[in-house]
Assembly symmetry: C2
Homo-oligomer: 372 residues x 2
């Protein structure tokens, strides 16, 4: 799920909150009545094998299949473009959909569908340039993930939307259910926070009254670099992060998107079997975006962990003795850092950020080839 | 795929045509480069078993899986509401998505996802009444189909859209590939045509300048009855029609939606292995809708087979000696007629409607409980 980066007025927020509450309720209603035989932990017995079943609430649904021992792991997401490079937007949309599978430890996606609406407000020329680039970006990211786009649907709409569906047919051991955290685990985050702040700040370069609000704390170049870092980060697949979850015996994960770090941490904590709570000490944030967020008052709530992210990192519960090796391995394979950001302790399935968390400034970047 | 029932201006049509052409091209491009080893008929060898692979172009994609002998059959569709009863709209959207699986002979859907956009123009009260009804309709149709909704995505959008994703994990014999028609087969259609005409005529009851155009050929009551028949027809599942395809050895099928009867017949003909062509003699149409279509000049092109349908019937190629029994069986099980509408002859993979097709007027209906 995703909270529109351009969301700002309180009426939009009211709509957005309605959406979350009502729709979650409606979807949970659907879930309750699905009529399956579930035990207290939601697992489902099938052909004498324990095949997991996960309904609405976590990142992807897991549906036991008629064929012995197999499950369908599936997710969908679509949203409005938030970067001005259509090719990168396509990649981001694809990475964002796949991320829900990766959060469940599923690394092989069997196919994807693409969901696109084409804006009726584009001129013919805009459309013929923008849409193929966006689809190409989506397709390239799918290929990078080792999967293929086998279909989709496209309609005309006032606004452009892009998203998709990712499906994996798995045996149970391929899935890491997000429910096995134990006291003593640590929390690892695989991408920096601040994508929403960076995307908004970048838009404000063209809106003087907004720009005036932040220009004392950040330069134009800082913003461009942060925006490029955000785009790269959002377009990056969480696939290696998921693969390494198996290698280092992760106890469960979620991906950070519309509800922000704390929102998703709380959701993950609530889903644990053991009586645990999550305490977050460190916040890795794209360079300068903490200053921008602070200059905007309560708008983003970045340090409260509530700023929406798009295609954010995995938040992973790892055994304490494995976490450093996990972070080292991912940095070696990807060239990007991951961070130990908190701990799992005994508690009542909640998550919080400590009073004065340490902010880790994550270097932003020049965009390759963008020197002119 | 679906053509908006309210589509009328030529600029909308231009956009729509662009959509079809460009997106088909883009999607076909994606398909070509999927990198799979395919033989000339698109089938795919896996674990020494012939597992079908169907890409973009027919109703659902078929993706061979890593697990021996299994395929993922999957489809997605979403569109704008076209009836004013939100519950029925939800059912129609669900039936429409499932129909793509049924067209491939697949009768067991493993799960569905729901894709919804909530209009930002609805008042709080409208939203809280309309959206739950729509979701309920979708869910009830899924339950009727023996499947469950396991997830979905909802965003705010200027316009409401509703649709979903249907997935089935099958063994090859569960699928009837739409490619085995032979000369001598006959064509059966399982729902009447004219849903777009009926939906439009019903809207025109409130638009005097439109209503004046058709009031000489149709009464208000005729229109209401036709509209109710259209709603019922669109909300009806093609599941029994698909099940009986197996019983009567169907040689392939497609479902009739946005491209109209002839458009989909041409698409199906093009996909055949044998050198065949389809000739359509009979057009079953919801009562009075032929007269309405004629009164509107070239607007609908109903008798040319080009009027868009939503959640239309299956068009099935059946051995000649089985077709009558198929039609009898479906009428017995469903209480609705199916019709033999044409023949398969030797030809170059095209489809046509004869010069003066016989129009079969299909009785419309009162809506139950709508006497006040």
């Amino acid at each position: 799920m995703y909270m529109n980066g351009r969301l700002s007025s309180s009426s939009d927020l009211a709509v957005e909150l309605w959406r979350m509450e009502t729709l979650l309720r409606l979807l949970e209603g659907l879930n309750d009545e699905s009529g399956s035989t579930q035990d207290e932990h939601g697992s489902y017995m099938n052909n004498n094998m324990s095949v997991p079943k996960v309904g609405i609430g976590m990142d992807a649904s897991v549906t036991p299949l008629r064929h012995a021992g197999l499950c369908l792991v599936q997710t969908t997401d679509f949203f409005y473009p938030l970067v001005d490079d259509p090719y990168m937007q396509g990649k981001i949309a694809c990475a964002n959909v796949l991320s829900d599978l990766y959060a469940m430890g599923v690394i092989e996606c069997d196919n994807m569908l693409m969901l696109v609406t084409v804006s009726s407000k584009l001129t013919d020329k805009e459309r013929d340039v923008v849409m193929p680039l966006m689809l190409r970006g989506f397709k390239d990211a799918a290929m990078e993930a080792g999967t293929v786009v086998t279909g989709g649907q496209t309609i005309i709409n006032p606004w452009i939307t892009i998203g998709g569906v990712a499906s994996a047919i798995c045996q149970a051991p391929e899935i890491i259910l997000p429910e096995h955290a134990v006291p003593g685990d640590v929390l690892v985050l695989t991408k920096p926070l601040g994508t929403q702040v960076a995307v908004n700040a970048h838009q404000w370069l063209d809106i003087p009254e907004r720009w005036n609000r932040i220009k004392l704390v950040v330069s134009e170049e800082d913003v461009r670099k942060a925006y490029n870092r955000a785009m790269d980060s959002m377009a990056r697949l969480n696939k290696n992060a998921a693969r390494l979850m198996h290698k280092y015996n992760a106890h469960g994960a979620t991906d950070i998107t519309g509800f922000g770090l704390l929102g998703h941490a709380q959701n993950l904590a609530k889903n644990q079997k053991a009586e645990v709570s999550f305490v977050i000490h460190n916040l890795p944030v794209i360079a300068k975006m903490t200053a921008v967020a602070k200059a905007c008052g309560n708008m983003f709530q970045l340090l409260q962990g509530l700023s929406a992210e798009t295609s954010g990192g995995l938040l992973i519960c790892l055994p304490r003795e494995q976490a450093a090796a996990y972070c080292k391995d991912i940095e070696k394979q990807e060239g990007y850092q991951a961070w130990i950001i908190g701990i799992v302790e005994k508690g009542n399935r909640t998550a919080r950020i400590i009073d004065k968390p340490r902010v880790i400034e994550v270097p932003s970047k020049e965009r390759e080839g963008e020197l002119w």
